[in-house]
């Protein structure tokens, strides 16, 4: 670490020590996909703006568009400080982590000037329109229609699982511009679309937890400006795949911060210490102990994978392996550790959020059920295994 980054890290450390807010009297979302109430939304939007204004978000993005103009090492130091102080998440993830880097990489000058700053200061919330009710894992078959009409495209169809759909000002959108393309992929185009035009309507979807978190989005003769087209017509699939690389952390360039609160195995340890079986701590049970160690090894291996990915001599056989698998590893780990946490609670695992006797107010129940949003969203774990198999191991295609 250079002296300059060290100094920056120290300042960031001090800033988050002082400014990280105390837990409010309502439950904060653990992931960006769980923003379900206006209260949560306002809280996280204020927090993101504050972090940005202090210079700890988008530190490595170009200054001319609203970034900090520093290096990735600066941003990494700021993110580490956030994590250390267990700060709330940076919720505008689709802008910060997916749309932003994409716009910076392949957007026009006008796109960059128009969108980047609003992503960082949370003025402009972003959502993603990829999945459709009939086309989830088979994303390449998306059918929402976009027809060029002068300076506009006219949209008709529907998108689903739109995280932040209710709050978003913009959407990254995958739409079909050519019904007669030689294959399903070639008919797709990629748009930066406004959400606030006539003909776009969002309907909240209730999740398995009972909370709200995303919407179905309906497009009925909605007209959007043609300058929102990314690349050319027919390039949509390639650009969508690039976006998914950012989403799965397989490609860098994100504004920084984190969008998912990680479970620390030590928190589970606390649970195991308190829970009793026959009057004895569950922590004395050798089976439970072995499972706890399994989680600790997994957590450590995940971190070390990240460290090793930055050392090319230790990745020569398959450089893309670790980036491709990090989404699968992390999301399955979160699901499993939350599930394990429930199993430690004895009769109390039968309670739920809102019950006064529930352990940690039902935090682990909510965490477990919500964990599926990540093992399903952004490409299911099963699709991830296809991708790793086909791209890292060169196994023959399944489809």
């Amino acid at each position: 670490m250079s002296a300059e980054v060290k100094e920056f890290a120290k300042d960031a450390e001090g800033w988050f020590a002082e400014h990280t807010p105390a837990d409010p009297d309502f439950m904060l979302p653990l992931t960006f996909m769980e923003v379900g109430t206006d209260q949560q939304f306002e809280f996280l939007r204020d927090w993101q703006r504050k972090v940005y204004e202090a210079g700890y978000l988008g530190a490595a993005w170009p200054k001319v568009y609203g970034g900090g103009g520093l290096t990735q090492a600066h941003q990494d130091a700021a993110t580490a400080a956030m994590r250390k102080h267990n700060a709330p998440i940076m919720f505008n993830t689709i802008g910060l982590g997916w749309a932003g880097p994409l716009i910076l990489d392949i957007g026009t000058e006008a796109h960059k000037k128009k969108y980047i700053k609003g992503i960082l200061n949370a003025e402009d919330v972003w959502c993603q329109g990829f999945s459709e009710p009939e086309h989830g894992s088979d994303l390449g078959n998306a059918q929402l229609k976009a027809v060029r009409d002068g300076d506009e495209y006219v949209l008709n169809g529907s998108k689903i699982w739109t995280t932040h759909g209710h709050y978003a000002k913009y959407m990254i959108l995958l739409a079909r511009t050519n019904q007669d393309a030689p294959n399903k992929y070639a008919g797709l185009s990629f748009f930066l679309s406004p959400m606030t035009v006539e003909g776009i309507e969002t309907v909240k979807i209730r999740k398995l937890t009972g909370e709200h978190g995303f919407t179905q989005t309906f497009f009925t003769d909605a007209r959007i400006p043609a300058d929102g087209l990314m690349g050319k017509e027919g390039h949509g699939w390639k650009i969508a795949m690039q976006t998914l690389m950012y989403e799965r952390n397989a490609k860098g360039g994100q504004a920084g911060g984190y969008s998912i609160t990680e479970v620390n195995p030590l928190e589970i340890l606390e649970l195991a210490r308190k829970a009793k079986r026959g009057g004895k701590p569950v922590l004395d049970d050798p089976v439970i102990r072995e499972q706890l160690v399994d989680f600790m090894i997994d957590a450590q291996a995940f971190k070390l994978n990240g460290a090793r990915a930055k050392l090319p001599p230790l990745n020569q056989d398959c450089p893309q392996a670790i980036p491709l698998m990090s989404k699968l590893i992390m999301t399955e780990y979160m699901r499993e550790i939350n599930q394990f946490a429930l199993s430690l609670q004895g009769t109390k695992s039968g309670y739920y959020v809102g019950e006064e006797n529930a352990i940690d107010d039902g935090y682990w129940h909510r965490g477990y059920l919500n964990a599926f949003s990540a093992t399903i969203g952004g490409g299911t774990s099963q699709i991830q295994r296809n991708i790793i198999g086909e791209h890292a191991l060169s196994l023959p295609k399944t489809r």
């Binding site: 340890l269 922590l283 050798p286 102990r289 072995e290 706890l292 160690v293 399994d294 600790m296 090894i297 997994d298 450590q300 291996a301 995940f302 971190k303 070390l304 994978n305 990240g306 460290a307 090793r308 050392l311 001599p313 230790l314 056989d317 392996a321 670790i322 698998m325 699968l328 590893i329 099963q382 295994r385 296809n386 790793i388 198999g389 890292a392 191991l393 060169s394 196994l395 023959p396 295609k397 399944t398």
Partner: protein, 371 residues
């Protein structure tokens, strides 16, 4: 727990050199040629390894070594495991480490320069009780004039016939002592070759039967406990490295079959029932490699080294055992034959788990260290 992997330039050099050496010297037909030989390895290759200075890597310069550390040894063990190039490398490295940690200066200056130059040595710690705890010793040593008389039995004495020295543990006056004995002084009839699940390896049962050893063979009594602990961790680091390399080769071998074998008119690798478990094995392997290089890097650090090494061995056992188990299954009828290499990998994983602790054993130790 810190999550760091540091690499040294020497380590990366060793990785590259060892990879190309092992790939060239140890194609699978050569590996199979050695399954039935007495010593189990090619003496010319072993000599070359000595000439290349691989035995000297972690031996201090004052004893004729290169003066690096186990950080630089780990990639060599990994590549040896990957290409199943079996030699007395591990047993010799462990014996040298035992001497460095617990040997009197006279022993060190006599033996370490010879090991550095490529002579083999081994250790005789395991006993018929099958215990992984190296402190569970029943072999006895009693004084006999100026010398000591040893009685008892040792098992899994690896590469004993190839070695010039063997370090034997025995109870001496109520506490464990270590003796570094010249193998030339051991009658041949006291040595019996064991039948091992891993046919690439050579292990022997050693019956002491009143073996007389001189007092100059005694390692520092004050250092015995630290030395046994060091041996245990070194052996597990090397074992994890071999497993991790082997796991990689096993996955490559399976993937190759999934890419060429057709059934129902399709390459079988396109079936998710085979593809997904293969990916799971690959994910486990990647974790294993990350944990291995972290262990190699932090090996010498107090406390941290032990945790990292146990994690690396636990994960490596899990990863290669699963990869090789599935490799047999996914090769179908061919997988059930002796000709299919999947059995070599599966047997290797069973053997390496059997020595110095399997995944569950290390997780039990980690639970006591971490919880």
């Amino acid at each position: 727990m810190s999550a760091q992997i540091g690499i040294t330039e020497a380590q990366i050099d060793m990785l590259g050199v060892a990879e190309s050496f092992c790939r060239e010297k140890s194609p699978m037909d050569k590996v199979r040629d050695q399954l039935t030989t007495e010593l189990g390895y090619d003496e010319n290759i072993w000599r070359e390894m000595g000439d290349l200075g691989w035995l000297a890597i972690a031996i201090p310069e004052e004893f004729g070594g290169v003066g690096l550390s186990l950080t630089e040894v780990a990639p060599v063990a990994e590549q040896l495991g990957r290409y199943m190039l079996t030699t007395p490398f591990s047993s010799t490295t462990i014996a040298a480490q035992a001497l460095i940690m617990g040997g009197a200066d006279s022993l060190k200056s006599e033996i370490l320069p010879l090991i550095s130059a490529g002579q083999a040595a081994t250790i005789a710690l395991s006993e018929p009780n099958g215990d992984w705890e190296l402190s569970n010793v029943e072999t006895e040593a009693v004084r006999d004039g100026k010398d000591y008389r040893l009685n008892g039995k040792k098992t899994f004495v690896m590469d004993l016939l190839a070695s010039n020295w063997v370090i034997i543990s025995a109870i001496l006056e109520g506490q464990i002592a270590l003796f570094c004995v010249t193998t030339a002084s051991i009658p041949r009839e006291n040595i019996r070759r064991e039948t091992l699940v891993d046919e690439t390896k050579r292990g022997y049962e050693l019956t002491m039967d009143g073996l007389i050893v001189g007092k100059e063979t005694l390692l520092d009594l004050e250092q015995v406990s630290a030395t046994l602990n060091h041996i245990h961790l070194v052996a597990n680091l090397l074992g994890a490295a071999e497993l991790t390399g082997g796991c990689q080769a096993c996955i490559d071998y399976t993937v190759e079959y999934l890419k060429t074998r057709k059934q129902f008119g399709k390459l079988i690798g396109s079936f998710q029932a085979l593809k997904h478990p293969t990916v799971d094995a690959f994910v486990d392997y990647q974790k294993s490699r990350s944990l291995l290089y972290a262990a190699a890097f932090s090996f010498a650090k107090q406390g941290e080294g032990e945790i990292a090494t146990r994690m690396a061995k636990a994960q490596a056992d899990k990863a290669m055992s699963f990869a090789a188990d599935r490799s047999i299954q996914f090769h179908g009828g061919f997988g059930f034959t002796y000709d299919c290499d999947a059995q070599l990998y599966r047997r290797r994983a069973i053997f390496n788990a059997s020595q110095y602790g399997d995944a569950r054993y290390h997780k039990g130790k980690l639970a006591d260290l971490l919880l």
